[in-house]
Symmetry: C2
Subunit: 761 residues, 2 copies
């Protein structure tokens, strides 16, 4: 059957939710209304760091229309702390507020206006404390501590290796070594070294965080939430409220973009707490400024030394990375650990020393963001690679190609072998950008590559149901957040079972009924959830073949599925007919099960990934030497995806990734001064607009069907973002001779650098 | 493992939904409110039979607040006919109204008052036609025809043998013969013969029918409905609106009693039609009088001849049964076919001739009602058995015992063997009522027995999910309608997986996510759905054992589950530990699958049942000779259930069955005059009150674990109702010498019979 040409997989079919989305009828969490539902508002700390001496909610509580008003001290009836790495984050500040915008009190009332007014009746007695706002301040001797004590561990066993360093602001420290990097660097012919900074940036999902929580008459909790991983949220809520997992239902309607900002619990604990206190459903929806106060990308300072032999062979990399994880750990320590482990990128490096620190500061907590720590490192390594090429007098493309890990080569001894062809991606990118042809005089070109691990261990499960009329229901918990996973899962089930797309329905994630899926992030849904759906559909297929084999008296191997029927050389049994034979009546369904759980390996971190994400970017830029404004004129992204289940959606993913990458490359940075975030609104925080996108933007895919996902697919979606900054900076450097180390490449920074440059060689 | 003493199964644990129900917090369909939801009202025919010449909804449609006003002629955009046996029932009357109360037009409006007012703006031009109100009228030569043409077949293949007789009011005719009944009756030593009437009665579920329908933005339909079989409703709606099964979601919250009235589509087609027309969610809730206009029990006239040898051996039964199925077939033809096939009751009868007719009349459609046609037949046969005992000068208990089918004996050649011990039930009943001791002078005692088939073929499926914390979710589609199925399924999963009841959650039926279950009726949920849950839980158990065997290095046969852990002789692995080993992380779930599908057999009707329901009743009655009022002083019900999964719930079921049986025995009858139902409200229609129940009412269970259901259980819930009428009438006959043949045994009927009786022998 595998030799059969693919019917819907691999084709650019329109997304199954297209019409509901373009008509505005698709429903998101905030579209939900429940009878008696209250609306919540949050009072937030005006200080980056303050002792909270007293919170008086008496007057707020007494206001007509208010159902609940809570401060941290009220939360004696649940565990008020949560967080995936450590439970260091209180639902509402308890004793101390650790960043500007931290929730200090909250109100649930009959409507939003009443809740807002009630907030003004809450008296908070703050004692301002000295904040630490930067990595340097936080790591200084005698720095004020963001957290005084040792936070309890989180509830996720696979994060239990994370450890804060007591008495410091170090939230986690990661170290990894292979070979002898110091000696190898000492013996290298050419050593390049520099430090690169990556700014704190916001995800700016079109839909800010939202949750509607309702406790039912049996004491069970249902939560409609804008979350990328309902199952992780379920764990945290179960522990907070001491309720079995089976009695917490997290439902995820359409999601208006995640990019990592909606992984792990965010607003959900507060919504659930308020709903319990108010004894009614509660809706809590963040504004855009509140999203800036909820989570961001971890800023970083990454120092890399790389040693080469004269012939260009990379022999050693030493990397010291500090990441600013803000006031609460969130998943920051894991971002740091996971990202840094692959700091050597897609290259073969015999001698490695990697050290990284996750550092608390009094700023918005840093968490997961598309790329999960890798963009910060690739910005450093890929910039430095071009510096090395200069020093070695080598073409940057050739130097990379020389050092790429080969297809099938283990990333590290015992770890997942490389499942793609990096050289093919790079060649495609180089060819598309016209690397070997000289650019126009006012243009410069640069390339960058990246390799990224997905989450590991990684578990996805799915159930596929074939109904009596041959239509199909897929139960899986991958979140549709705009990336098109619902369409992709529909295609996979339709392909395996040979039915039209319109006869497949994918149920929205709902932990009460759709089976476990670890997370919709880490570029994993197609590869992992998609594979689970494929296996579940194949389970149904095998049941169909067995029914037909028995009833037609034909060996199962001589049967195939086609157009909603089991086809034998001379006969045909439609699915309704097959089911009627199986059940002896016009009812009954076939249930298929797919469980994908590669498990842990002996490799570092228990094995780094079930598949590798690989991408190359090539940029052609111009610069206005008068203003320093950099413009990306052309951009080519090439991702090795194994198989494009839906090329249209994949192109959308990768175009979006490139443009989002242009944000932190050219425009975006959360700016703090005097403990205050200066630009936490979309009026002043500049994300790319349509006219910031390259006039020529191409996304290509390498498809060798060499992935472990469905039909040879691998993950995609994060890869295209990561090479953008170094590719653009490398292009700028090749055009102007100016090497910038701090993102974003704002006109002012570029202008200053151009002014300061030594005459070009 | 099976030898282990049962921990929760077999114990009278309180129902899992007790608190939500006694506090009034349990939610039913009518508790649901959706944003923008419209309320529907129905205009009904005032005539039993009329041509509907014109329905003008123009003024209703124009009324402010009205979203839709529909008549039958408007339904050109869907198939407006539905019905399980035949699609003979229009959503709204088309051309003809066939019974008083038939929906003719309907309105969806902003609230109920507006909808009600809009009904008054609808003009209907009726031309009254001659109705047929009784079996006699309907079967008379040249009777007016309720249906002129041949209705299209229903959508259920297993009902495709049903056939109306064109040009008559005969909706279906069933015939069955074995041996030569005419010859055997001719040669019998004693032949008894009589005809017995059973009245049309109403189910009087505390919750009348209700449905909320909502079409979503993708053109899929969600329906919250008070239905006993969401999957059958799904089929009918899918066909009506030409939508794949996978895109119709039928959700069933708590149900306030069904008793068969909520099998197959009732209000759901109209609710869905109005929702589509109104382009918004629509709520349609029947009043109690409207329930009287929706469905009822089929009235009957059953003539039986039974031939015995002098020694008491029953040699032949001939039965001619006519059932009044009202204006639309509903499932009436199947009631007649199915019931009549077992008209010989629990007895060995070599020569059988059974004929039955389902007959259309211009009355409320007759459908399923607890007992599914058997109470009507048992009323006749079991009364006649006592007549025969009199004639043979035999004790009625002994005569029955002599003729009972034996354990393991096939009901009919090739059909399901008897899976219980009838003699044990009868002996227990006789002993409990003190049969061998003389009653007080003013008391009489009677017994009756019954055997009933469940639906066949019969399919139930279940999914059981074991979560990372060892809590359990059960996905199954048996409807909780007061009988306690949610508790029973919880017990079964908790027993197999050895976890506390509080850690098991049973999800409410929802065709989008809970797997196929044929119907919650026919006393099948414990035996069939329960067995599916058991198998699914055992599937999870086997996965747990395999994980533990592999990780502990112990053979799976040496392992057992206990207290949420896999227990080896010297070690213990909790479920969370086992899952962490399997998945290499703190996530992932085990998915178990249970599919129960006994299939068809070569026996008549494809095999009559997956299990037999068997019960015996014994009544002790008194009569007020002045008024004719019969009082049941004591009643003993004995049911052979194989295993009482929950004795407390089972007792509740059987007590309820006895009391409901007392309704049609003593009190209930839908009375018609001049084409009008006279007593279609609870003010005048008398159901048993607390003071009508016997002061001593005992329910006993025979438990030999000989059923094919979980832990040896069989079905229960209908059996106790069926012997009530003949046991009471037999007691009355033994007390007074008066044999009544028409139910209910009203004081007037009894008084007249007492006055007319010949002096007692």
């Amino acid at each position: 059957m595998s030799a059969r040409p693919l019917r819907v997989v691999g084709h650019p079919v329109p997304r199954v939710d297209a019409i509901e989305k373009v008509t505005g009828r698709a429903r998101y969490v905030t579209d939900l209304t429940l009878p008696g539902m209250a609306h919540a508002k949050v009072l937030r700390s005006p200080y980056a760091h303050a002792r909270v001496r007293r919170v008086d909610v008496t007057r707020a509580r007494a206001r007509p229309g208010v159902f609940a008003a809570l401060a941290g001290a009220d939360l004696t009836w649940c565990d008020p702390y949560y967080g995936p790495a450590y439970r260091d984050r209180p639902v509402l500040a308890i004793g101390v507020a650790r960043y500007e915008g931290e929730p200090v009190a909250a109100v649930a009332a009959v409507d939003e206006a009443t809740a807002e007014e009630a907030l003004e009746l809450i008296d908070v007695d703050y004692e301002p404390l000295a904040p630490v706002m930067t990595l340097e301040e936080a790591l200084a001797e005698d720095a004020p501590l963001v957290h005084a004590g040792q936070p309890p561990a989180g509830h996720f066993a696979d994060l239990s290796t994370l450890r804060p360093r007591p008495g410091t602001n170090i939230c986690h420290q990661f170290q990894f070594a292979r070979g002898d990097a110091a000696a190898a660097l000492g013996g290298a012919d050419v050593v390049v070294e520099d430090a690169y900074r990556f700014p704190p940036v916001q995800h700016v999902a079109l839909e800010p965080h939202a949750a509607v929580a309702a406790w039912d008459e049996t004491g069970a909790l249902t939560l409609w939430a804008s979350t990328q991983n309902p199952y992780s949220v379920r764990v945290e809520l179960a522990k907070m409220f001491d309720v079995p997992l089976a009695r917490i239902r997290v439902v995820v309607p359409h999601l208006g973009g995640g990019f990592g900002s909606k992984t792990y619990a965010k607003l959900e604990p507060l919504a659930a707490t308020l709903a319990r206190a108010a004894a009614r459903p509660v809706r809590l929806a963040a504004s855009v400024p509140e999203a800036f106060q909820t989570v961001r990308r971890c800023a970083s300072r990454v120092a890399v030394r790389a040693g080469f032999r004269r012939d260009g062979t990379l022999v050693a990399v030493a990397c010291d990375a500090d990441y600013d994880v803000g006031a609460y750990a969130d998943i920051g320590p894991r971002v740091v650990q996971k990202g840094t482990y692959t700091a050597t990128g897609p290259y073969r490096v015999p001698h490695v020393r990697l050290e990284a620190r996750a550092v608390y500061t009094n700023t918005t907590p840093g968490g997961a963001f598309r790329g999960f720590g890798v963009p910060q490192l690739a910005w450093a390594l890929e910039s430095l690679f071009d510096v090395a090429a200069d020093r070695l007098d080598r073409d940057p493309v050739d130097l990379r190609r020389q050092n790429f890990l080969a297809h099938g080569e283990e990333f590290a001894p015992g770890d997942t072998p490389i499942d793609g062809k990096l050289e093919e991606s790079l060649s495609r990118a180089a060819e598309a950008i016209g690397w070997t042809r000289a650019p126009a005089a006012d243009r410069g070109r640069g390339v960058a590559a990246m390799l990224k691990a997905s989450v590991a261990p990684s578990v996805s499960e799915a159930i596929v149901r074939l109904h009596a009329d041959g239509s199909v229901t897929v139960l899986a918990s991958a979140v549709e957040m705009g990336q098109g996973t619902r369409t992709v899962l529909t295609q996979i089930a339709a392909e395996v079972l040979s039915v039209p797309l319109a006869r497949v329905t994918v149920v929205q994630p709902d932990t009460a009924v759709t089976p476990y899926d670890q997370t919709t992030s880490s570029s994993r849904s197609t590869a992992m959830t998609g594979r689970a759906v494929q296996v579940a559909a194949e389970d149904v297929r095998d049941q169909l073949l067995a029914i037909a084999a028995q009833n037609l008296g034909v060996a199962a191997r001589e049967l195939a599925l086609a157009d909603g029927a089991v086809v034998a050389p001379a006969r045909r049994l439609t699915y309704p007919e097959a089911l009627a034979l199986k059940f002896g009546m016009s009812g009954g369904e076939l249930i298929g099960r797919g469980v994908i759980a590669p498990g842990r390996t002996a490799a570092p971190l228990g094995g780094s990934t079930p598949f590798w994400e690989m991408a190359v970017g090539a940029a052609e830029v111009s610069v206005d030497e008068e203003t320093g404004a950099v413009r990306v004129e052309r951009y080519v992204s090439v991702a090795d995806v194994g198989r494009a289940i839906n090329p249209l959606l994949l192109e959308g993913q990768d175009e979006g990734g490139v443009v989002q990458g242009l944000g932190h490359t050219l425009l975006e940075e959360m700016l703090y001064a005097d403990g205050h975030l200066l630009n936490g609104t979309l009026l002043v925080y500049r994300v790319p607009r349509a006219d910031d996108t390259p006039s020529e933007l191409e996304c290509h895919f390498v498809e060798n069907a060499d992935g472990s996902g469905p039909f040879g697919a691998k993950g995609a979606g994060e890869g295209s973002l990561i090479p953008v900054s170094p590719a653009v900076a490398n292009a700028l450097a090749r055009l102007t001779g100016v090497r910038l180390r701090d993102l974003p490449l704002t006109p002012e920074r570029v202008w200053r650098a151009l002014r300061a440059r030594s005459p070009r060689a």
